[in-house]
């Protein structure tokens, strides 16, 4: 008996010493390397107590921006921002991949800041926060103290249920800064080598894929190690051909007086059949359902991918003429990437990325904050002052850029801007307005600015219209998350058909199952919302 006791205690010690960490989910970020989350919580900025009501504590995610992740106390950018604005701002950057969980904990413990980043005022992170009076209603304050906010932030963003409820405004939108940023990237050098022009129709694309499959386009001696098109487990991000069939698994369309998700539309069956064909013919990498994003990127850099879905902002850091040769180590002197629209489908449709409300995230101010009017005034300054415009685009004068008689000299690849991607600090991390990479002032200073601006134009052109803009999360989906758009049921069906585990007709069974499990209720709920919203 004593022996057992000793063993038991030893075991308890071992177990308590080795109890494993909590798990961390993954989520892609607006930053290029949307991976490897170091959970660093950095508090910075001068934080002198009771420095009047001009002090504002900001709680947000570092969004995988390298500079913000490793922020040190007494940061020069925060200092400059405080100097220019006349406020005393301090920033706390939480980890990005588990921001939702951490924010949820903050709400539980009440350890909040003055200005808080959240995806939406009705997010499940802080369920019922609006009803419980946790967030301050901002409408009257904005009218009184923030006239420029209403002027500069477009109507489409203010109308979103992510910032207002029952006609009252509880949040201030932070903008993506463009109508759409999704686009296809294609290896222009491979096209040239094969003597092909940029593909437009589905047949053009399939021809390109076939050539890539048969020939050794990356020139490493193995004709079988490159694919015309590559994907990874983040299917929503890496799928490029739904739009050619007029559908997007995330959106809904009105049909005979009912709001129906594209997920169950007959056009979706055609799209899935297309993906199945890509898989069967070996045009897409076979291991896409287990491929991690980092490995997917490595494959691209190793010359194994002929095309892939991406976003325009990814061009400069990884695929531009200046930076691609550093990444594509096997073909540094050859690589040349073009931005391209997905193919035009059988009905003349094409598209990538749904039309959105243009909101990146939403600022909220807790009811307990004493100086909300000062916060609104600060945001109003950020949106309207020419000094702010300059700071959030180019950083600190004399360090990040120089202004010689009105002519701005800003070099994105200069060490002061490029090291640790410091430019992201003022353009993104502490910019309370928008994703600054997309700002016109920034775009025009970039190398290849014409190509990038043309990319944004093309991207806006292929944004897919739909009828579920502003649709709040459905209650039906909260009870049965598996049936939601891009839910596990859809993804499972999609992957099984694509890989040939199930015949294409399994789609019909999926639709029937989906309806049975509450899909019909979801359609009713969505239709009711649509009719109420658009009356």
């Amino acid at each position: 008996m004593r022996r057992i006791l000793v063993i038991f205690i030893a075991l308890a010690l071992i177990l308590s010493a080795c109890s494993s960490n909590e798990n961390k989910g993954k989520e892609s970020s607006p930053n290029s390397e949307g991976n490897s989350s170091t959970e660093s919580n950095n508090v910075s900025g001068t934080n002198s107590p009771d420095s009047g009501n001009k002090s504002i504590k900001v709680l947000l995610s570092h969004a995988e921006a390298e500079y913000a992740k490793t922020l040190k106390a007494d940061d020069p950018y925060i200092k400059e921002l405080n100097k220019l604005s006349g406020y005393n701002l301090s920033f706390e950057f939480l980890g990005h991949s588990d921001y939702d969980q951490q924010l949820s904990l903050r709400f539980v413990s009440g350890d909040l800041a003055d200005l808080i980043r959240t995806p939406s005022i009705d997010s499940t992170i802080h369920k019922d926060a609006v009803e419980q009076g946790i967030f301050r209603e901002l409408g009257p304050l904005i009218d009184q103290y923030g006239p420029n906010l209403k002027k500069r932030i477009p109507e489409t963003a203010w109308n979103s249920p992510r910032v207002q409820k029952d006609g009252k405004i509880y949040g201030i939108p932070v903008l993506v800064g463009t109508a759409n940023d999704r686009i296809g990237f294609i290896r222009q050098d491979w096209l040239d080598k094969l003597g092909l022009k940029q593909p437009e129709t589905i047949d053009d694309w399939l021809n390109y894929f076939e050539q890539v499959k048969v020939q050794d386009v990356n020139g490493n001696g193995d004709p079988n190690d490159e694919y015309g098109y590559t994907m990874f487990e983040g299917l929503g991000w890496s799928s490029m051909f739904f739009g050619s069939f007029g559908v997007d698994p995330g959106t809904w369309h009105m049909q005979d007086g009912k709001l129906i998700p594209d997920m169950i539309s007959p056009k979706m069956k055609e799209a899935i059949a297309f993906y199945k064909m890509l898989y069967e013919k070996g045009y897409v990498n076979r291991d896409l359902f287990t491929k991690k994003e980092a490995d997917f990127r490595a494959d691209i850099y190793n010359g194994k991918s002929g095309s892939f879905a991406a976003a325009v902002y990814q061009y400069t850091p990884d695929f531009s003429a200046a930076n691609a040769p550093k990444k594509f180590v096997n073909e540094p002197d050859k690589v040349n990437i073009s931005m391209i629209a997905p193919p035009t489908g059988p009905r003349g449709e094409r598209g990538l990325g749904p039309v959105s409300d243009g909101i990146y995230f939403v600022w909220v101010i807790p009811e307990t904050v004493k100086n909300p009017e000062e916060i609104i005034k600060y945001l109003d300054w950020a949106w309207s002052s020419p000094e702010a415009d300059k700071f959030f685009a180019y950083g600190i004068e004399g360090s990040n850029f120089t202004d010689v008689g009105g002519e701005i000299k800003y070099d994105v690849s200069a060490p002061v801007n490029a090291e640790k991607n410091a430019f992201q600090m003022f353009q993104l991390s502490i910019n309370p307005r928008e994703i600054g990479f997309n700002n016109d002032l920034v775009l025009k200073t970039l190398p290849e600015s014409e190509k990038i601006i043309a990319g944004y134009k093309l991207s806006a052109d292929i944004a897919m219209p739909h009828d579920s803009l502003y649709m709040p999360p459905l209650v039906t989906f909260q009870n049965n998350p598996e049936i939601s758009t891009w839910g596990t049921m859809f993804v499972e069906m999609f992957s099984k058909i694509m890989t040939g585990n199930q015949p294409i007709d399994a789609f019909d069974k999926f639709v029937a199952d989906w309806n049975k499990r509450g899909g019909d209720k979801a359609i009713d709920e969505a239709t009711q919302w649509y009719n109420a919203f658009h009356k």
Partner: protein, 299 residues
């Protein structure tokens, strides 16, 4: 005089135990009270005191959920196979190590087999996924020697095997620690006496080593049975993909995706409570059985 000393000793001992007891009270027993939210519709702003009570509604929802039995079956299956293969593995390894004559070789092997325990599942998982993928090294070699390529991580019937075997690979060395400790406690005279009596190596193992390992084995077995429905979330989440969700989704991954990510605290607490109930029943039941059959038990 003597009695007072004994008395004082007791108090001193209790004082020693105090931090440990406080730890269990504060971090193990007090949080148990939080389980009441399984019977509420918990909202973080209302807290436990003001959230509405809903009785067994969360449990009804759980049992009524279409995939509940699938998830339950997967959890039991994974737990059962993990136990079936994962429990004997460290015992066998410990016995093998015990038979090694050369001390330095034994030490090296021991250190090497501990190593994987200290790697995170994110690393181990990515390595194995790459090794076992359709174009990974394993399949490349297999096709070179004329075997068919198998997509191990995306096929339902090989997926569980991958989970179990990577789990064993990572933890088997660590698991041997207890057994090696128990083995070193066996009196060498017993082996010498057995040798004199003409017992061979197998006989010695069967009649001396195994009986002496029995208490350790029983304790480890009973404790791991209590966790039969607990999969290793980190491991399963890394390997899980849509092609094997119907065999790979277990309670813990379900709770993770729908509870934590979806903010449904009450519902997922109900699931966790159900899991715990199953674990308690198993531990008590098997403990009683073990006490009767082998004479060894936890308490």
């Amino acid at each position: 005089m003597n009695r007072r000393l004994v008395l004082r000793d007791k108090w001193v001992l209790l004082l020693f135990a105090l931090p440990g007891l406080l730890y269990f009270l504060l971090f193990k027993y007090v949080p148990l009270l939080g389980n009441v939210i399984a019977f509420q519709d918990y909202n973080i702003f209302k807290g436990i005191l003001r959230s509405p009570w809903v009785g067994f509604a969360q449990f009804e929802r759980m049992f009524g959920f279409d995939d509940f039995y699938e998830v339950f079956r997967n959890s039991v299956k994974l737990g059962f196979y993990s136990l079936l293969f994962g429990f004997p593995a460290p015992i066998i390894l410990a016995l093998l190590l015990n038979e090694l004559k050369s001390m330095w070789f034994k030490r090296i092997v021991q250190t090497v087999v501990y190593m994987p325990h200290f790697l995170s599942w994110v690393i181990v998982g990515s390595i194995f996924i790459n090794l076992l993928s359709y174009e990974g090294i394993v399949n490349t070699i297999a096709s070179k020697i004329g075997l068919a390529k198998v997509d191990y991580v995306t096929q339902g019937n090989t997926f569980i095997a991958v989970l179990i075997s990577t789990g064993i690979w990572k933890e088997v060395g660590w698991g041997t620690i207890l057994y090696l400790a128990a083995l070193s406690g066996i009196n060498p005279n017993l082996y010498e006496a057995a040798m004199v009596d003409g017992a061979g190596r197998w006989r010695q193992m069967w009649s001396i080593t195994l009986p002496y390992l029995m208490p350790t084995m029983v304790v480890v077995l009973l404790l791991s049975i209590g966790h039969i429905l607990d999969a290793n979330v980190e491991q399963v989440l890394i390997f899980l993909n849509p092609l094997v969700r119907d065999v790979g989704e277990v309670f813990d991954t379900y709770v993770y995706t729908f509870g934590l990510v979806g903010g449904q605290y009450s519902y997922t607490t109900a699931i966790a409570l159900f899991k715990a109930a199953v674990g308690i029943v198993l531990v008590f039941g098997l403990n009683a059985i073990s006490r009767r059959t082998t004479g060894e038990s936890l308490y």
